[in-house]
Structures are given as structure tokens and as C-alpha cells.
């Protein structure tokens, strides 16, 4: 066992265990906190794969933004110690069967498929490269998606204010 392997197994175990807990726990506030742990462990996974900027984005937007938003809405719409209804037996069976079947099919396909390993030299995802490519309009530039995302966020902001205002 080497260092990266041990860290990967710890992160993977944390991700799987906490996502199961966040689905299974009937206390909704705890489910949100378990979701936070899953997202933080995923940021660690990005960091392992050398995408430091992405790990920071994941921590800031998901752990800092979306989970806080979800906790706010939980506190606005339910009591702090209220429990969710237990799932209907039919739904529970359907969900578990779907999950096991889907995981089995996908896992068999993934393990059987031979991926061609990369043979090109890797580039370092430094801030300079990321910034240049995000504003570039040539072949590997992402200026158009960047602008479209800006418009989408503006539209979402205006729409959200319009929906949530008091009439």
C-alpha cells in the first residue's frame, strides 16, 4: 500500500458511506450534513488528480454555497428535529432493485471495457493555463461556454428573485 492508494481508499469509503447515510437517514438536517461530507471528500479526490483549482471551486460553491442554501431551505420548510416519513415498501424495493441492477450492469461494462491509456504528455492545470483557455477563442478555448454560463446565471438570478418574491 502506497500513500495515494491509502488516501484514495479513505476518500472512496467516505464518499460511499456518507452518501448512503445521506439517503438513508430520516432526519433531514443530518442528511444535509452528510451530503456536505460527501462533497468535501470529492474535493479531496479532485485534489488527488492534480486539479487544485477544481477542488477549490468544489469547496467554495458546493460546500460553501449549495449546502448552506439547502440547510436554509430545510430550516424554512420543516421543524429542526422533524423526521421524514419512512418510504413506501414498493418504492423502497423498486429503488433498491434499480440501483443494484444499474450498478451491476455499469460495473461489468466498465471492468470489461479496455481503455486506451494516454500517450500524450500531460499539461499542468495551473491557474495561468486555465485562465488563458477560459478566455481563448481558438481551438481549445472556452470563451463561448463561459459567456453562455454568465447569461444563464443572470437569467437564473432574475428568475429566482421573481419566483421567490412576496406577492
Amino acid at each position: 500500500m502506497t500513500g495515494p492508494k491509502i488516501i484514495f481508499y479513505i476518500l472512496a469509503a467516505a464518499i460511499v458511506v456518507f452518501s448512503v447515510l445521506s439517503v438513508a437517514d430520516r432526519r433531514i438536517l443530518r442528511a444535509a450534513i452528510y451530503l456536505l461530507f460527501v462533497l468535501v471528500a470529492m474535493a479531496g479526490l479532485y485534489y488527488m488528480m492534480n486539479f487544485q483549482f477544481l477542488a477549490a471551486v468544489q469547496l467554495i460553491i458546493y460546500a460553501g454555497g449549495i449546502v448552506v442554501l439547502i440547510i436554509f431551505s430545510i430550516l424554512l420548510t420543516s421543524q429542526i428535529n422533524s423526521k421524514l416519513d419512512p418510504p413506501k415498501l414498493g418504492n423502497l424495493l423498486l429503488g433498491v432493485i434499480t440501483a443494484i441492477g444499474g450498478i451491476a450492469i455499469s460495473a461489468v461494462t466498465i471492468v470489461k471495457y479496455g481503455f486506451t491509456p494516454a500517450n500524450q504528455p500531460a499539461i499542468e492545470p495551473t491557474m495561468r493555463t486555465i485562465g488563458h483557455q477560459l478566455m481563448d477563442t481558438s481551438e481549445y478555448g472556452y470563451a463561448l461556454p463561459f459567456e453562455v454560463i454568465g447569461i444563464l446565471l443572470l437569467a437564473a438570478l432574475v428568475g429566482t428573485i421573481f419566483i421567490a418574491r412576496k406577492t
Binding site: L45, V57, A99, G102, P117, Y140, P145, I149, L152
Partner: protein, 107 residues
């Protein structure tokens, strides 16, 4: 640091498959809108792991998976904000966030 000598790509993909289907179970078994939204966030994150893993293992000479993931995170933030605005508006008007009790399109 390249992980491919330590951890095969398949491990990452199986991990993201597990998270994706756990999120799907959350959508199927829960009737609370906020819990279903949390399931959707889990599924989006599973897809993000896939993009980042493919970028790191198979195409390390460009950053396509990296930018895809950034765009997905931005869209997930917008989606969560709109969904929570809708949920709070529904709660104001109907008094519950359970999908079984929300049966009128126009209140």
C-alpha cells in the same frame, strides 16, 4: 503526479457509478422535495468525477473534462437556487414540501 500507476481508471468509474445510483435511490424513495434535490446533487457530482477522471487518465494533454466540470458546477448552482426558490414558494402556498400533497398546477 500521475495516478494511473497507483489507481486504475476503473476504480474511479465504479466509485462514481455507486454514487450515481445512490442519488437515484434517493429520488425514488423520498417524497420530500429537498431530499430529492439532494439526490440530484449527488448524481451531478458522480458525473463530475467521471469527467475529471477521464481528463486525468485518458486525455491529460488538454483540459476538456476540467472545463466541463466547472460548467456543470455553475449550472448546478443555478439549478439549486431556482429549485429552492420554487420549493419555498410552494411551501408558502400549499404548506408542505411533500410531492404527494402537491397536486394542483395552478393554486
Amino acid at each position: 503526479m500521475n495516478l494511473s500507476s497507483e489507481i486504475p481508471l476503473q476504480y474511479m468509474l465504479v466509485l462514481s457509478t455507486l454514487v450515481f445510483f445512490i442519488g437515484l435511490v434517493s429520488i425514488i424513495i423520498r417524497r420530500n422535495l429537498i431530499t430529492m434535490l439532494m439526490g440530484i446533487e449527488l448524481m451531478l457530482n458522480a458525473v463530475n468525477i467521471n469527467f475529471v477522471a477521464f481528463n486525468h487518465y485518458l486525455f491529460p494533454n488538454r483540459l476538456e473534462g476540467h472545463f466541463f466540470t466547472m460548467i456543470i458546477i455553475a449550472i448546478a448552482a443555478a439549478e439549486a437556487a431556482v429549485a429552492i426558490a420554487l420549493i419555498i414558494n410552494i411551501y408558502r402556498k400549499v404548506g408542505t414540501v411533500s410531492v404527494d400533497d402537491i397536486e394542483e398546477l395552478k393554486y
